[in-house]
């Protein structure tokens, strides 16, 4: 197991390198530059700026300088658009915010989603099932960019209960709406996957055997049915967790949370090369890490899997 994890981590290094190179080349192939605007800059001014950021060097050299900086100094360079800030600074400020609301959303989505799914499966075709399924379908149908403004209209403007945006170091009133908006659709997916998986498991032979043995229903569900039920859920949760902690541009935009989701989208649109690359590496590394975590959890859930 340990050697498996190590092997996976080693493979991650060339994967990340490839990601950086591809992203770097695509970024520079896109038309435009971080310094374009409606005003055409005088050539001399543009030359000064490009010299300052090394953009006047040949592309392979720029890529090399960048990689050396990242590997030797863990320095992702300055932002080209936010002129007095660095990529490290942007991540250090924005990632904790995203991590906080992402993790809380994840926990909420898993707890509520799994409960709804299990309840629906155990009481299939009763009103409980209908409510659970109805809730999760409506939640899925309501995208967060629709839900976010509605939440603010209801809870901030009409009721006056919650602040309409901001982060305020993660004080709870500021976290509530982002968490609702972010977790809802994940929660709905988890509920649906859990329900169908649980139904399948409950109809399988080993559960019938357990029933025949006369085991109490509670033991059957929690001791025998739960683990196999979670298999497809876990395979969904790995990427979902990365998606949540790397933030959502919609959440950052509508709730002014200051997370990195908005920076990521903006950096692509502004051609802020260094921020774009830095965040891509972060996302890539997290994706690789949590795919690994998912696989390890698999091994625990399913004794048939051996690494």
């Amino acid at each position: 197991m340990l050697s498996y994890i190590l092997r996976r981590l080693l493979v991650a290094i060339p994967t990340l390198l490839l990601l950086v190179v591809l992203c770097f080349l695509l970024m520079h192939a896109a038309p435009g530059s971080p310094f374009n605007s409606e005003r055409a800059l005088p050539p001399q001014v543009l030359a000064n700026i490009e010299a300052k950021y090394g953009l006047d060097k040949p592309l392979p050299l720029q890529l090399w300088d960048y990689l050396v900086g990242v590997v030797t100094r863990f320095d992702f360079g300055p932002s080209f658009v936010y002129r007095d800030r660095t990529v490290n600074g942007i991540i250090a400020q924005g990632f904790p915010v995203t991590l906080t609301y992402g993790t809380i959303s994840f926990i909420v989505a898993v707890l509520v989603g799994v409960s709804l799914g299990v309840a629906a499966a155990l009481r299939q075709n009763t009103w409980i099932d209908y409510i659970a399924v109805g809730t999760s379908f409506s939640a899925q149908a309501l995208p967060n960019f629709v839900m976010a403004p509605i939440l603010v209209i209801v809870f901030t403007w009409k009721l006056g209960w919650l602040p309409g945006g901001g982060w305020n170091n993660g004080a709870w009133p500021y976290v509530v709406m982002p968490v609702i908006a972010l977790s809802t659709s994940f929660m709905a997916s988890i509920a649906r996957i859990t329900r169908s998986s649980m139904l399948e498991v409950l109809n399988s032979n080993f559960i019938r055997t357990a029933r025949a043995k006369g085991l109490p229903a509670r033991t059957i569900v929690w001791r025998h049915a739960m683990k196999p039920t979670m298999m497809p859920v876990v395979s969904y949760l790995g990427p979902a967790f990365v998606g949540m902690i790397t933030g959502s541009v919609v959440i950052d935009m509508y709730f002014s949370t200051g997370g990195i989701g908005l920076f990521y989208v903006n950096s692509a649109l502004n051609r802020d090369y260094s921020v774009m690359l830095g965040l891509t590496i972060l996302y890539g590394a997290l994706t690789i890490l949590f795919n690994l975590v998912t696989d390890v959890v698999y091994a625990w859930l399913d004794p048939k899997i051996r690494y």
């Binding site: 409606e38 001014v45 007095d84 976010a148």
Partner: protein
């Protein structure tokens, strides 16, 4: 500061699509020795209870406004966007400031003298100007800042502004051919700043209200490097000092007790909240979280009805136009002036401003906005015609040019991604199709790609917008001269070039501007569509928001919150 994109409303997700408006300069021959802004206040108000106009003051003097985007920097010499300049205008103070109407008032400089030849300005700095750490603000702080702005090492985009100021040796310093010490700005003593220009520039004092020219604290900049603008490090000389900055969330500034006129500053806490989405901004305004927010496009009529005292609209110094590609790569058809005139005539601007934007924007028949100081809109024929007359004339002209049902005119019109640009482009193409049978296909591009295509003349007809760098017609009309780097349509008329060049030294440049507008109205290198309006929701308890300042260079130190 120019319009990077200057759409009427920003598209979500893209900070570069913001309406970047100018920190501009008001043209008015200010005399040396100006009166104090607060001369109306008879006695200093220790614990203020009333505003200068007698308004009763609210207990909580916090002003909270929405910012479209995170500022790109708070370093005055690096600032290139509206949020950055709006915030730093409160934190720093330049030689001159503007009042509610955009007229010049003394800032750090109490007065200035101009030499006979108009090429040397001597600014006399006030004795009591201090940095927030208590150090005096000296002429050397300005010399340091201006040298810094021009230096290739800092590589500010606003090096061009130092060039525009015509300071002696500016170009050579920017090119790295001379050391920054050779820049034509010197500290005669701590309180006397001398600036030498390479040519007389009548609006030079107005340029000293621009963020690029704000002083910088040398010791602090050298101690902290790029991080000197972070809260805790930053030292500033304006009415406010930075207390908190959470990127993409908020900036909090509090009253600076060291400010020379602190006793007349009423607002003691100034907060900006970054809210990208305009509708979200409006909801939060209605919820009472904001004192000011921009109006989402199309919402003005409804808000005006529901909140008549809070919905405000006033003219701004920006235009919105479509430019023909007149270069080699442009379509042959556009080289015919009749085609250009026909397309310009057939645009029903009233539909654009009343039905699409609906925020009080004036329709445009000239390039320069009517709100520009000193500029009188010439009587161009198109403006006085009815739309029916324009349409009839457009049909005639296009037929004369040889286009009709048998030989339909077709081209692509390019604009950058934004809901409002799209609505306007669709409306224009429909008008042309219905009235003239013209096939205008829509080309929508993401902002950076759009800029690239436009600057390389890879278009037929392209959207453009410009906000004045200073409040005078030349900031607009220079765009249509041959040497202008932003003349993407490559219109070139020696007569226009000559008139604009002469205007720089002319006794009355306005006559030249009028002539240029008349030439443009005749030759139609661009189709002016509308001029901008500032459309806000502004809380009634905000006292003295300068709606008459067309450049919207506002100073929180001149405002107050009324008791309600």
């Amino acid at each position: 500061m120019t319009a990077r994109a200057a759409p009427p409303a920003p598209a979500p997700f893209n900070p570069m699509l913001q309406e970047e408006l100018s920190m501009t300069l008001h043209i008015r021959r200010a005399t040396a020795g100006l009166m104090l802004s607060t001369a109306l206040v008879a006695a200093p108000l220790a614990a203020q209870e009333t505003a200068p106009n007698g308004d009763a003051l609210a207990e909580d003097q916090t002003l909270t406004i929405r910012m479209l985007d995170e500022h790109t920097s708070l370093d005055p010499q690096l600032i290139e966007d509206v949020p950055g300049s709006d915030i730093s205008r409160q934190l720093f103070e330049g030689l001159m400031v503007q009042d509610e109407n955009g007229e010049l008032e003394p800032g750090v400089a109490e007065s200035y003298d101009v030499s006979e030849d108009g090429k040397t300005y001597t600014f006399h700095l006030r004795e009591d100007a201090k940095w927030s750490n208590g150090d005096p603000v000296t002429a050397g702080d300005f010399v340091f800042a201006w040298q810094r702005a021009a230096s290739p090492e800092l590589a500010s985009e606003y090096q061009w502004f130092i060039g525009l100021m015509s300071i002696v040796n500016a170009d050579a310093v920017i090119a790295g051919e001379m050391p920054v010490e050779e820049l034509g700005v010197t500290a005669v003593d701590d309180r006397t700043l001398e600036v030498r220009l390479s040519a007389p520039l009548p609006y030079f004092p107005q340029m000293t209200t621009h963020t690029t020219t704000f002083p910088a604290p040398q010791k602090v900049v050298e101690e902290f490097g790029d991080a000197w603008t972070q809260p805790g490090n930053i030292v500033s000389n304006g009415a406010y000092k930075l207390e908190e900055h959470v990127p993409n969330e908020r900036v909090v500034a509090v009253k600076n007790d060291q400010y020379w006129d602190a006793e007349n500053v009423i607002i003691d806490r100034f907060v900006t909240l970054v809210i990208n989405d305009e509708s979200q901004g409006l909801t939060r305004f209605l919820a009472g979280e904001l004192d000011r927010t921009e109006m989402p496009a199309g919402q003005f009529p409804r808000m005006k009805q529901e909140h008549p005292d809070e919905a405000v609209s006033f003219p701004r110094l920006c235009n919105y136009y479509y430019t023909f590609n007149l270069s080699e790569s442009g379509p042959e058809a556009f080289k015919d002036v009749k085609v250009r005139q026909a397309l310009a005539l057939a645009v029903d601007r009233d539909i654009v401003v009343n039905n699409i934007l609906a925020g009080g924007q004036p329709p445009a028949y000239t390039f320069t906005p009517a709100a520009t100081a000193g500029f009188t809109v010439p009587d161009v024929e198109m403006a006085s015609m009815t739309q029916a007359e324009r349409d009839a004339r457009a049909k005639e002209l296009l037929a004369e040019a040889g286009y009709g049902p048998d030989n339909p005119l077709s081209f692509t019109m390019l604009y950058n991604t934004s809901e409002d640009h799209q609505k306007i482009a669709v409306a224009l193409s429909q008008m042309w199709k219905q009235k003239l049978g013209v096939q205008a296909s829509l080309g929508n591009m993401e902002w950076q790609t759009f800029l690239d295509a436009r600057s390389q003349q890879a278009f037929d007809l392209a959207r453009g917008a410009w906000c004045g760098d200073y409040n005078e017609a030349s900031t607009f009309l220079d765009l249509l001269t041959t040497p202008s780097g932003s003349n993407d349509g490559k219109y070139s008329n020696p007569e226009v070039d000559r008139l604009m060049l002469d205007a720089r030294t002319a006794e009355d440049p306005q006559a030249n501007y009028t002539q240029v507008e008349e030439i443009i109205a005749e030759e139609m290198p661009v189709i002016p569509i509308y001029h901008y309006a500032g459309v806000y929701m502004l809380d009634t308890d905000v006292g003295n928001w300068p709606v008459n300042n067309v450049e919207q260079n506002w100073y929180v130190k001149n405002m107050w919150k009324k008791a309600e």
